[in-house]
Amino acid sequence: MEFLSYLISGISLGSVYAIIALGYTMVYGIAKMLNFAHGDVIMVGGYISFCAMNYLGLPSIVAVLLAMAVCTVLGVVIEGLAYKPLRSAPSLAVLITAIGVSYFLQNAAQLIWSAAPKVYSPVVAGSLSLLNGQLTIPYVSLLTVVVCLVIMAGLTLFTSQSKLGKAMRACSEDKNAAQLMGINVNATISTTFAIGSALAAIAGVLLCSFNGTLMPTTGSMPGIKAFTAAVFGGIGSIPGAFLGGLLLGIIESMAKAYISTNLANTIGFAVLIVVLLVRPAGLLGKYVPEKV
């Protein structure tokens, strides 16, 4: 029974990682950059929803929508101001800029909301009690899993069926050829950031609901882990990000329960290294040699 409850907790945490990883992977797939500030957009999503619920007294669903709207705008602005000017710069320059944006967001949050942790009450309260109370599952855990599945299915449909989604895939493969087709590559990249950031807002709300606290550094560790999950599953791959996130969550939860809380992260990263040794492109990634 204990095992089952750890598993459920792992799946739920993994679903949060998966949502974050989906944002990472989409941006990487299309803009070919690692947006290390993604985790901090999550944190902003957390604060916006926190303020909306606690200071403005808005219902949680409105708070979530507001957080999504703010993060979408934030993502597009970050892309336009910080990354777009570096479109043809070496990827190292872009990476360093992304790290800079990440610290900028953390420090800005510290100035606005202070470094002290806030108590974040879950967007949905209560829990489901099963087997005469031997197994309790917080509703928010169930919600997280459902939301993650819906997002994953939605993104899959979007990229495989819609015109814009196909254009995104075309951009991800060959930006010049995409432009010859009449695709506005800059606008497509902005849209990708918008979608990724809206997902980050959802992830922020769910993550804070899961953890129960919120502070300016809330997003950074989950951000790195979700990045790990995206690489684990195969960076650029939507099902890969989903699978990677889920596995990382389960590994972390099991490691905490049966090995050691302190070693949980180490074990997660160790598994990643082993997977990458065996499959350099990740679980579901396609190995595409760099073109020269």
Binding site: K163, K166, A167, R169, A170, E173, D174, N176, A177, A178, Q179, L180, M181, G182, I183, N184, V185, K286
Partner: protein, 233 residues
Amino acid sequence: MLKVNGINVYYGSIHAIKDVSFEVHQGEIVTLIGANGAGKSTTLQTISGLLHSRTGSIEFLGQNLMGVPAFKIVSRGLAQVPEGRRIFLQMTVEENLEMGAYTQPNTTIAPGLERVYEQFPRLKERRRQIAGTLSGGEQQMLAMGRALMSGPKLLMLDEPSMGLAPILVEQIFEIIRKLHQAGTTILLVEQNAQAALSIADRGYVLETGKIVTTGTGAELLASPAIKKAYLGG
């Protein structure tokens, strides 16, 4: 129809295109020939807006193309089949063709597909196949079909015969001739000067970024200097 006038294109400090001017008239097949590195692809990419000239002008159907972003060029009626095909390898054949019609209203996609499949029956058989698994010849057909999906008035082809067996080269040139007969104006870049000049109304010879000779296809084919430099004797 297309007027390129005194363009100069640089890659950093490399001066790749030097004062190049040429014209393509409605209904013509015009070819741009030259050795490796002469600047043929650079010229086409400049017309398509992927590269920029520091001087001069590019006019298409009386409208200025200089400074127009690359993604807005195709809707003006100017499509390019780039060097090395550059199809979307991880997308299906049909998805590639749909991308070719990206700027077109959705209602034109089905008839467009019909037309392309008629021209390239092989593509129809493979419509659901991932483009990366096509043979080289099929990939070239896909690249051409994709460009045709936008219903271009002028089609620019960059070395469509590259890496293809002689029989396929013949097929590709046959298709170009048919497209031309059907009313598409063609600007053809080739290293295969013999084949290109045989179907072209006029040709320009590019050497290290400069146009050195021009004439009708027949004139250039007969010219001793061209024979020596580009036709293997």
